[in-house]
């Protein structure tokens, strides 16, 4: 693998994503409604990728949209859905129920252990739970290992090394130093364990500015970086903007209805826009500004969720 040398890694989004191959194992940064790499996801779909193997923890529209676009072969996430608020992930659910994707549902802790194994240069790591859970039936690849000290039998899980990690950050420099706000979710682990990290950032700034905010993921782990304002939309990217609940709700309705409605969403927001500038124009500067107005007052902030 090797660390990435210190050099300018700025490319445009299309070029950054061009390295993603059909069949690749993809780690998606962020989680649930926060810091999902949506611009990268849209570009992956636009470029027509197929048979992807997704790995991660708890995700929502990023995974559902990739499934809706028939880009996914195997889904190894711990959760896919829109929480209590907007409910089950429609495209994921449909694909799982009709058998058009392989559901290798996993557990946050197991995925973490598998990434850590790669990060720590080990072929496997033991985990404490899993035994007794049917999750194990979904993973015939798991093994067992006996502790040489206590005699306990623990489940052994193999190291997981994604081909590409797609991460989104509020700030980055041209060398790939990234600043993130909590929750970091698995982004740091993905960055160390993946073959290649492709980052989109809200703003490209100087190294000094990233360092002043704090480098969360260092340049030597990042292969390519590209500036995409609102690149997490409709997920949040704090401190810049909250998530777009209205947009998500519209997506979920279209995806539930499926067929032409879902195709319509994909056509409008993915295939029908040449790039992310057009995407932002489509969402509209007024709406985007609204999502960034959360720090003004608790009333404004709360208003975004009503």
């Amino acid at each position: 693998m090797g660390l990435q040398p210190h050099r300018n890694k700025v490319v445009d989004l299309a070029a950054a994503i061009a390295d993603v191959r059909d069949g690749a194992m993809i780690a998606l940064g962020g989680g649930l409604s926060a810091r999902l790499p949506m611009a990268a996801v849209r570009e992956v779909i636009r470029q027509g990728r197929r048979d992807l193997h997704l790995v991660g923890s708890a995700h929502s529209i990023d995974v559902d949209l990739l499934v809706a676009a028939e880009a996914v072969h195997r889904c190894e996430e711990s959760y896919v859905g829109f929480e209590q608020d907007l409910g089950l992930a429609p495209a994921y659910r449909r694909a799982a129920e009709t058998g058009t994707i392989e559901v290798a549902e996993s557990c946050c802790v197991t995925i973490l252990a598998q990434l850590r194994a790669t990060e720590m240069g080990l072929p496997f790591l033991p985990v404490r739970g899993v035994r007794g859970s049917d999750i194990r039936r979904l993973h015939p690849e798991y093994g067992e290992v006996t502790c040489p000290f206590t005699g306990e039998v623990l489940v052994a899980v193999p190291a997981l090394k994604p081909d590409v990690a797609l991460l989104h950050a509020p700030l980055g420099d041209r060398y790939g130093n990234l600043h993130l706000e909590q929750p970091y979710v698995l982004d740091e682990r993905f960055a160390s364990a993946s073959m290649r990290v492709v980052a989109t950032v809200e703003r490209l700034v100087s190294t000094e500015d990233v360092a002043a905010s704090g480098v969360t993921i260092p340049a030597h782990l990042v292969a390519a970086v590209t500036e995409v304002p609102f690149g997490a939309h409709p997920a949040s990217c704090y401190p810049n903007y909250a998530y777009d609940r209205e947009h998500l709700s519209g997506y979920v309705k279209a995806a539930q209805s499926g067929g032409e409605d879902l195709a319509g969403y994909l056509k409008t927001y993915v295939y029908g826009v040449a790039d992310e500038r057009e995407y932002r124009d489509l969402i509209g500067s007024e709406r985007l500004a609204e999502l960034g107005r959360w720090p003004e007052s608790t009333v404004d902030w709360k208003g975004l969720f009503q």
Binding site: G31, L32, S33, A34, S57, A58, S78, Y79, V80, G81, E83, Q84, D85, L88, A89, Y92, R93, A96, E97, T98, G99, V103, E105, C107, C108, V109, T110, L112, V127, R128, G129, V130, R131, G132, S133, D134, I135, R137, L138, E152, V153, L154, Q182, P183, Y184, V185, E188, R189, S236, Y238, P239, A242, Y243, R245, W294, T298, W301, K302, F305, Q306
Partner: protein, 275 residues
């Protein structure tokens, strides 16, 4: 003072928390989330509250948003754990209590958040278990809940898929599986409250507007009933006002069937209460 079933339900969940505990809820669990903040503002002010999916420690969110990792949920917290920091703490036994629910829950407290129907071609693909299939093994105490007990589909004879392990699965009991956690301790539903003596659910309290027979009819597993079955203790004024302050958006209400939300109660002025 009037209150609705969702409020009472959340207060009952809050009371499963003991002082000084470290408590955690998974994402997409507004009732448990609100319950933790209610406990921290009433009977258990010294708990270590870990906000699910944000992993913020003892935050004071200005409101509970409808998503579990919005930045509002770390407001007032001096520290947010990293992902691995939280899961490590939980696996080594440093998180005392977790709240868990499921599309299906059986009498041993096994929960299914993965799929209803046969695994190969499920009838309903649920969202998935997050970290539960390891956390349920190691966290000392689990508080389960279901807000859909009355549907008859939530508390089942046996789960179609066991995502998170209760006291006993077909593979063995907790000792046989090598689990270090204690398993489900309480289960709160919109009909009543269960404990788990001998590792199986037993009804200890019912809501005053629900009969044992109604509960039995809604329960897929054999209903065991405590000898001293009582009605659930009403919420105190302090609990209700904490709840209303914490959950001003009412996100907890999303967990209930609309009809349940019509259940309104009143403190009986003739009966002493802690309010």
């Amino acid at each position: 003072m009037k209150f609705t079933v969702d409020e009472w339900f959340v207060v009952l969940l809050a009371r499963t928390i003991r002082p000084a505990e470290t408590v955690f809820h998974g994402f997409g669990s507004p009732c448990a989330q609100v319950a933790m903040h209610v406990a921290r503002r009433t009977h258990a002010r010294d708990i270590t509250l870990i906000e699910g999916a944000m992993y913020a420690v003892n935050p004071d969110p200005p409101f509970i948003p409808p998503t579990s990792n919005d930045a509002s949920l770390k407001r007032g917290a001096a520290y947010s754990m990293r992902f691995e920091e939280f899961f490590d703490a939980a696996i080594r036994g440093d998180v005392d209590r977790m709240f868990l629910s499921g599309g299906q829950i059986d009498g041993y407290g096994n929960t299914n958040v993965t799929a209803v129907g046969p695994l190969e071609r499920p009838k309903v693909k649920l969202g998935g278990g997050g970290g539960g299939c390891n956390l349920a093994a190691t966290i000392p105490h689990l508080s389960l809940w279901s807000s859909r007990h009355r549907s008859g589909r939530a508390l089942v004879e046996s789960c179609d898929f066991i995502t998170d392990m209760g006291h006993r699965t077909p593979s063995g009991d907790r000792a046989e599986l090598g689990f270090t956690g204690g398993g489900p301790q309480w289960m709160v539903t919109e009909l009543g409250v269960f404990d788990f003596p001998d590792g199986h659910a037993r009804l200890t309290h019912h809501f005053p507007d629900v009969t044992v027979e109604e509960i039995r009819a809604a329960t897929g597993f054999e209903l065991r009933v405590a000898g001293d079955l009582r009605t659930v203790q009403p919420p105190s004024g302090a609990e209700l006002s904490a709840l209303r302050a914490v959950d001003s958006l009412g996100v907890r209400r999303g967990e209930f069937a609309p009809k349940e939300l019509d259940r309104v109660f009143d403190h009986d002025p003739a009966v002493g209460c802690a309010c």
